[in-house]
Symmetry: D2
Subunit: 362 residues, 4 copies
């Protein structure tokens, strides 16, 4: 009762790390839109492991197939089922962890919740679960871009204690982000981040980071007061991504230290509409987009599965030492970039469709 996201543009994802396939069914996609697998594959390729030194060497091709909802390259308005086969399964890597729940991983809580859990890998808590999100998000993104010119760009803002310089929210592009393997648009910082990731990997450890994201050209009026405010939906979406620990929009936690006179964004005429001269609001006021760029940040913790020995307890309560095997990312943020973009697209698409009907009723 929890793998469905959205009210009108509804995405139902499925798949564990080691079952036959992962994917999603997208219900509510507009009819009459051109759509091919290549529109989806590009973001999956940015998400998949094995892209370079910094990520796990598990090399799945993650090729998406559209099973339904599209005929002659055009969407029918009916559910679009998307499937990616799982390959390259090494379940034996996980055998010795069967009796010992990985600290800060989902082994213990899945067992507590369901009374059973996938015996290998993370099951549904694995990063492979995000394939369905990214695939569905790519469909949303295409619609948003083609009909509204909406652009969504995410980047790595920090890895551990290394942060990037100021980002030009109006002009940053995905190609600028992809210019470095770590996906941070500040070349100097990117180099240091890469070195840090390599270092923690060599130490059999892991490290966290922050992903920033901007959504441009969003029309004013999106977001549904009071419970489905734009920032509430974004926060929900972002904190549903594995390994996230925080979300802030606009001024965020820093804004809590400011005075209203400094924080308020004054209005000014901007080419036929009201805009603001600053953007501490992050593009949202009262839970509704104001036409300025929506800007937010997402905190990711260091991955829980590390090769370092850990003193912990087994499921039966006895003392245990865990030394994880298998292939694991030392840092998730470079691959999290397309996931953050995908979830952003899902939120904006749903809010946009929820708002569109209202324009006719003015």
């Amino acid at each position: 009762m929890s793998s469905v996201f959205g009210t009108i543009f509804r995405v139902s994802t499925f798949g564990e790390s080691h079952c036959a396939a992962v994917g999603a069914v997208v219900d509510g996609a507009p009819a009459g839109m051109k759509l091919a697998e290549s529109d989806i594959q590009s973001q999956l390729d940015r998400r998949r492991p094995g892209q370079g030194e910094l990520t796990t060497p598990r090399d799945e091709k993650d090729v998406v197939t559209i099973l339904s909802g599209v005929e002659n390259g055009v969407t029918l308005g009916t559910p679009i089922a998307l499937m990616v086969h799982n390959r390259d399964q090494h379940p034996s890597d996980y055998q010795e962890m069967a009796g010992i729940p990985r600290p800060s991983h989902a082994d213990y809580t899945y067992q507590a919740k369901y009374g059973v859990r996938a015996s290998s890998g993370g099951g549904r808590s694995s990063a492979r679960e995000t394939i369905g999100r990214v695939a569905a998000g790519a469909i949303a993104e295409k619609y948003l871009a083609e009909r509204y010119g909406i652009e969504i760009v995410a980047w790595v803002e920090s890895v551990g204690e290394i942060g990037c310089g100021a980002i030009d929210l109006e002009n940053i592009t995905r190609s600028m982000v992809d210019a470095t393997p770590v996906r941070s648009p500040d070349p100097g910082a990117a180099r240091a981040m890469s070195e840090l990731i390599a270092e923690v990997r060599d130490q059999k450890d892991s490290v966290g980071g922050v992903v920033g994201c901007v959504c441009r050209n969003l029309p004013a009026g999106l977001g549904e007061p009071v419970f489905d405010k734009l920032e509430a939906m974004l926060a929900h979406a972002m904190l549903s991504i594995p390994a996230t620990k925080g979300f802030e929009i606009g001024s965020g936690f820093g804004g809590s230290r400011m005075r209203g006179s400094a924080h308020n964004d004054p209005f000014v005429q901007k080419g036929g509409r009201l805009g603001t001269t600053s953007n501490y609001s992050g593009g949202v006021q009262g839970g509704i987009s104001n036409g300025e760029p929506v800007h937010f940040r997402v905190a990711f913790k260091p991955p829980a599965t590390i090769a370092l020995k850990q003193q912990t307890a087994a499921f039966d309560g006895t003392d245990a030492v865990l030394e994880a095997k298998g292939r694991h990312d030392p840092c998730v943020v470079p691959r999290a970039v397309p996931i953050v973009e995908g979830m952003t697209a899902l939120v904006m698409m749903d809010l946009l469709l929820r708002q569109e009907y209202r324009k006719r009723s003015g």
Copy 2:
């Protein structure tokens, strides 16, 4: 399509700042539970304005009436309608703001979204909207406490740049929080916070702050992977509160700077269940509660309505100077404490009811 919150314990709130009444309908409350208006009133009293120097002098009694769903002091399992009349309306305070959208307030975005807006006060974006949440939350909280011993305590963690000292998450109580008017359990910090709030009020300005919250005795197993993870639902709930800009759980943004070997919470036997020796996870792993205290923080921006003159633009795009009249809080965090608690209760209640059926199906 946005004033309904929850899947099984479903709350539908209503009311603008200056209409006849505000309130909520609670659908899905368990039958057979003792419930009186006094169970709800206490949290409303903590939320209402006019409690002291630090809040707006608008003195509503905010007396709640239960309209339905309870007979002879016992819930029937049917919808519980809760109503609080609005009083003390000074719509004239708002007349001069009719043509000028308040910077960083919802005037502009409501107009953009709906093509119309409440002519006085914040309408639905007003803090009075939160009355329905707090009232509904009090019902949830009573159930959680009586059946599970679950305790929810929030407090003011910072006002502007002034933070409180470390909080003992296991032992903090509401009476410790209410010991100071600013609702921060660190007496020294509380005094400084009060002074700061008085200072910005005298400067006709406003200031932000952070609210911390802990939820204790939550059973392991709550939270619905993948989209309705416990932290995702909390983030959604918190960012739906007016004036919030950020959310973090456990280590939060700080965790993004840590190594996995330090961040992982080792398991240890704790009185018949597995617990953890540290709690960087904030009581949640893989989106599911692990039995440790759930701990999170919420950032509030400085209130947008200030009496200081502001250079801005009118709805028609012309330059304008705004000087807000009316009664407005210089800082919302003391009154936000019961709102954060109420929304926490709504989230936990819904997740608990969503989980309860599962226990029978093992």
Copy 3:
């Protein structure tokens, strides 16, 4: 978790027969629409008891108050809370039924479900529960009529074995329906129906009936395949009305006896659009409206509460004789007419708003 109806135009009803008030909160009503209590009161007056000889003499005024969502006579796009106070409570009428569940009434099943039930009257299973539906439906109906010219008219098609003659679906109006107290547009049949109702009332018995309904000027394209087909939503809505036992659309059960060559509705050009020369489909094909009148029928059973002695069993399983006191309708269909209209309006409104966004995405 069951008193909320609709996806975009969402209605949350509340109230038992003998609590303080009954009503509804309407979430998702379009902004900018003129709305006054008088727009709602007229349908409530058609629903309320005490309209004449044929209904229960319990004389409530059932005066509706709009608590929120409307300012200066215009909807704000925010939740509209509607309240009707309960009056004229005679709980003592119900005392002797406390130990004996009324046969075919909800006493037993509410007790089985909730472990508690309203001690007097039907509680939530009472006909008073429908006040919220009718009030919310009146708002939907106003929007449908003003923006689309949609007309919804229901009538009594039969009482017991007495049926009315053929109805002209294109031209029947509410004033034709209201011309007789029994609300059947065939004067001869209406007289016989009234006599039958009076007869069963004098016999301390009750009788069932059928309500017919037509919805005209609905645009083609409403209804959401596959699970929320127009007829599925109507069937859901109608079978949620107390005392209903059946629903059929277009040819209905009679259609099951026909050949396809006779049942198929041939297309023909009708003033710029395709129409059909017959309407066995009832205005719906593949779950989607085709622009022809939507026509359906709803079966109501005889009311369960009768003054005749009934041999039955008490809650404790012992034999018992029940002789109901209190004021009860001998036949519900005359008052069911505005309820059927109201639920029809809720269904059409929600489907219309769900469709409107799609028109922009062609």
Copy 4:
């Protein structure tokens, strides 16, 4: 926004008649339940075409694959994705219908709704869409049977004007139903039905029918007043099946002609619980199951696609004669039997899970 069914046990179906695959994702299935593809295949085999003389000769194997949610033959509590490949596609059969909407089929309304439609076959309005429902229903049915002993049996009650004799609701079984190809448990009537179907097939025509269904051993207490009454959910589910025109529960339309004194079901002690001596209620009172068999009937119209020439209009409004090619059932009710059972299982499963949590809160 319409291919998702259920609140807790949520089924999302996908697939057109001529795309790559059809199927469903089941979210909310209980963990720890044994499940294999063979548990699902049996009902699919009863649904598939090509079972005999009476159905279309299109012979798909309709082999189901479980893509996720099951490991080592046990459900994980995570989404179960089910896929059936489409084969045997003859899109050329449909070419000449491209310009002419089939009377009483969904060609015209899909085009009106979406502005595009599947160019071959019925697309999403095809009977193949029901594969996902039957597959998901089989999972629900297994849980209901194993944990509660709930039995669901449907049968053909009439074909055209030929009806079967009285059914023993307590004892009818699927093997009794499957004893004849037409799936009517009355051998004499079944023979006549088969002859009628053969006759209308030879006449290039089609014929409707009625399916009856009983659900036994359902515990008292299922159904969610007021909008999600058990009969409302069933009516919704049944009218969402292609080609349905009516639904009645218990006494149905016949009950509208009865007196209350005859229609009321007297209570009587039945082995430790209250039961009723008659069952005009159809197992439901006040929208909640009372422990008696739930009994209802569903009307199916004659299939719209017939080989007889039909005078109609083309999409462009010009007169046209349609003579459908391709393989089409002359009567859908024999194959509708497992579809009705599947949808019944989905409704009961969801209501049961919605009720289970309540038992713990008494």
